[in-house]
C-alpha cells in the first residue's frame, strides 16, 4: 500500500490504540498477534497467555529461543520483569473472573448484536474452540480483528451469524481492513473508514444495518 503499512498491520495498529497503560491484554493468533508491535513504548501492558503466562514479552532473538517458553500458539516468547508462570486452570480462572481488560480475537462472522462466530466452519474447517469462548465471554472489552469480507467477497458482518457461535453479545469493537465499527445498544455504529475505502464501500460490504457516527473519520 502507498502509506507503507500493509492492511494487517494497519488493523493491528488501530487495535493497539485501544490499549491503555497498565491493562491486562490477551492477543489471539493471526492478525491480533501483531498488535503488540504497535504499542508505544510509554505504555506498560501485561500480556496474558492461556497456557499460563502473565507478562509475556517480545519474541526472542533467533538462536535465543527457550523451547519451554512459548505462547498459546506454540511460538517462542520471553517474560518481562514482574511476569509470572502458572498452570492453565489458573490462566482461565483469571479470564473467567474478569481480570482481562481487553481480548483481541479473530473472527469468521459478527452479528449486529455483537454475537461472535470464530471456531468452526461446519463441514469444512474445524480447528476447535481453544480459549476463545472464555475470552469472548469474559474479557471486559472484546475487539474482533478480521477482514471485512470472506474469501468469496461476502460480508462477514451480518444481521445474524450463520455459523455456530463462540459467544453471544460479546463483541465491543470490530476492526476490519475497511472500517472500525462500534457495537452499541442501538446497533452497529461506523466510526472510521480505512482509506481508500469510503463509507459507501463499507455499507455495501456489510450485511446488517449500520448507523453512522456523527463524525466518521478516515484512517490513512
Amino acid at each position: 500500500m502507498a502509506m507503507g503499512i500493509d492492511s494487517r498491520n494497519r488493523m493491528a495498529k488501530r487495535a493497539a490504540a485501544e490499549i491503555k497503560d497498565s491493562m491486562i491484554v490477551n492477543l489471539g493468533i493471526g492478525i491480533p498477534s501483531l498488535v503488540s508491535n504497535h504499542l508505544p513504548p510509554s505504555i506498560d501492558v501485561m500480556f496474558h497467555a492461556e497456557n499460563g503466562i502473565l507478562g509475556m514479552g517480545k519474541s526472542p532473538e533467533k538462536g535465543e529461543e527457550d523451547p519451554n517458553l512459548c505462547n498459546a500458539a506454540g511460538f517462542p516468547v520471553t517474560i518481562v520483569p514482574g511476569g509470572s508462570f502458572f498452570d492453565s486452570a489458573t490462566a482461565f480462572g483469571m479470564i473467567r473472573s474478569g481480570y482481562l481488560d481487553i481480548s483481541i480475537l479473530g473472527g469468521l462472522e459478527v452479528s449486529e448484536q455483537g454475537d461472535l462466530a470464530n471456531w468452526i466452519v461446519p463441514g469444512k474447517r474445524v480447528p476447535g474452540i481453544g480459549g476463545a469462548m472464555e475470552l469472548a465471554k469474559k474479557a471486559k472489552k472484546v475487539i474482533v480483528l478480521m477482514n471485512h469480507t470472506n474469501k468469496n467477497g461476502k460480508p462477514k458482518i451480518l444481521k445474524e451469524c450463520t455459523m455456530p457461535l463462540t459467544a453471544k453479545r460479546c463483541v465491543n469493537l470490530i476492526i476490519t481492513d475497511m472500517a472500525v465499527i462500534d457495537v452499541t445498544e442501538r446497533g452497529l455504529v461506523l466510526k472510521e473508514v480505512m482509506a481508500p475505502y469510503t463509507i459507501n464501500d463499507v455499507i455495501e460490504n456489510t450485511a446488517s444495518s449500520l448507523l453512522l457516527s456523527n463524525n466518521v473519520t478516515t484512517i490513512t
Partner: protein, 230 residues
C-alpha cells in the same frame, strides 16, 4: 526397606509397560510444549494403538502428542483444539478418530475436578453454543450454568524439569501449563523429568506437584522434535 518404598524412579521400559492398547491416557502439554518426549516416543516404539487421549490439544503433526495422533494411534481425543495439527482434522473428517471438544478453560477445570475428587464443575462458558448440547443445566442463585463432568484416566503422563525420587515435581516456565492438573487426574501418573535428585534436596516450598500424585519418575532423553518456528 522403608527408604526404597519412597523411591519411584523407574526405567522407560517399566513406565511403558503400564501403557497398553485401548487405554485412556491423560497427557500434559499445550501446543506440544510441556509434553513428555521420551514417553511419547516409547509409546510409539511399543506400537500402542486405539488410545483415548485427553489433553489440551493435538499438538503439531511432529510435536508433542501430535506424533501419536498423526500416526493414527488414537481412536478418540478429548481436547480444546486440533487446528495446529492438520492430520488430526483429516482423521476426524474421515471418521477415523472421534473428537470431543471442550472449551479450553472448561477442559482444564474438568481435569482438575477429576484430580481433586469433585463431581463436576459449573460454568456459564458454552451456554448459547453447540457446547451446551446434551448437558445438564443448573440454576444457582438465579444464574444458569452448565454442569461439566470431571475427567480422569487410568494413566497420566506429564513433563517436569526436576523431580526428587519421591516424585515431587518442579516445572519450568510455560512448560507447566496443564501438567500439574494432569498429574492429579491420573490413577497411575508417570512423570518424565530432566533431572532427578535425592529425596530432601528440593525446597518443599518450591514443589509444585506433591509426590503423592506421582507413581513413577523417569529421566527424560530431552526434546527431540523440531519446534514450529524452526
Amino acid at each position: 526397606m522403608k527408604a526404597n518404598s519412597l523411591n519411584k524412579v523407574a526405567t522407560l521400559e517399566e513406565a511403558i509397560s503400564h501403557i497398553d492398547n485401548g487405554c485412556t491416557l491423560l497427557f500434559g502439554g499445550f501446543g506440544g510444549i510441556g509434553s513428555p518426549p521420551t514417553l511419547i516416543n516409547g509409546i510409539i516404539e511399543k506400537d500402542v494403538k486405539d488410545l483415548t487421549l485427553i489433553g489440551n490439544d493435538t499438538g503439531f503433526p511432529e510435536i508433542g502428542i501430535g506424533k501419536i495422533v498423526s500416526q493414527g494411534r488414537a481412536k478418540k481425543v478429548i481436547v480444546s483444539h486440533i487446528g495446529s495439527n492438520p492430520v488430526a482434522g483429516r482423521l476426524m473428517v474421515e471418521g477415523k478418530m472421534e473428537v470431543e471438544f471442550s472449551p479450553q478453560g472448561t477442559l482444564a477445570e474438568r481435569i482438575r475436578a477429576g484430580g481433586v475428587g469433585l463431581g463436576g464443575i459449573l460454568t456459564d462458558v458454552g451456554l448459547d453454543s453447540m457446547i451446551e448440547e446434551g448437558k445438564q443445566k443448573v440454576i444457582v442463585n438465579g444464574k444458569e450454568f452448565l454442569l461439566e463432568t470431571p475427567l480422569t484416566a487410568g494413566i497420566a503422563i506429564v513433563y517436569a524439569n526436576k523431580a526428587d525420587t519421591y516424585g515431587n515435581l518442579i516445572y519450568e516456565t510455560s512448560a507447566r501449563n496443564t501438567n500439574p492438573l494432569v498429574a492429579m487426574a491420573g490413577t497411575f501418573t508417570i512423570a518424565e523429568v530432566n533431572e532427578i535428585v535425592s529425596i530432601g534436596e528440593l525446597d518443599p516450598g518450591e514443589i509444585e506437584t506433591p509426590g503423592i500424585y506421582v507413581d513413577m519418575v523417569i529421566e527424560s532423553n530431552g526434546v527431540d522434535w523440531k519446534w514450529p518456528w524452526e
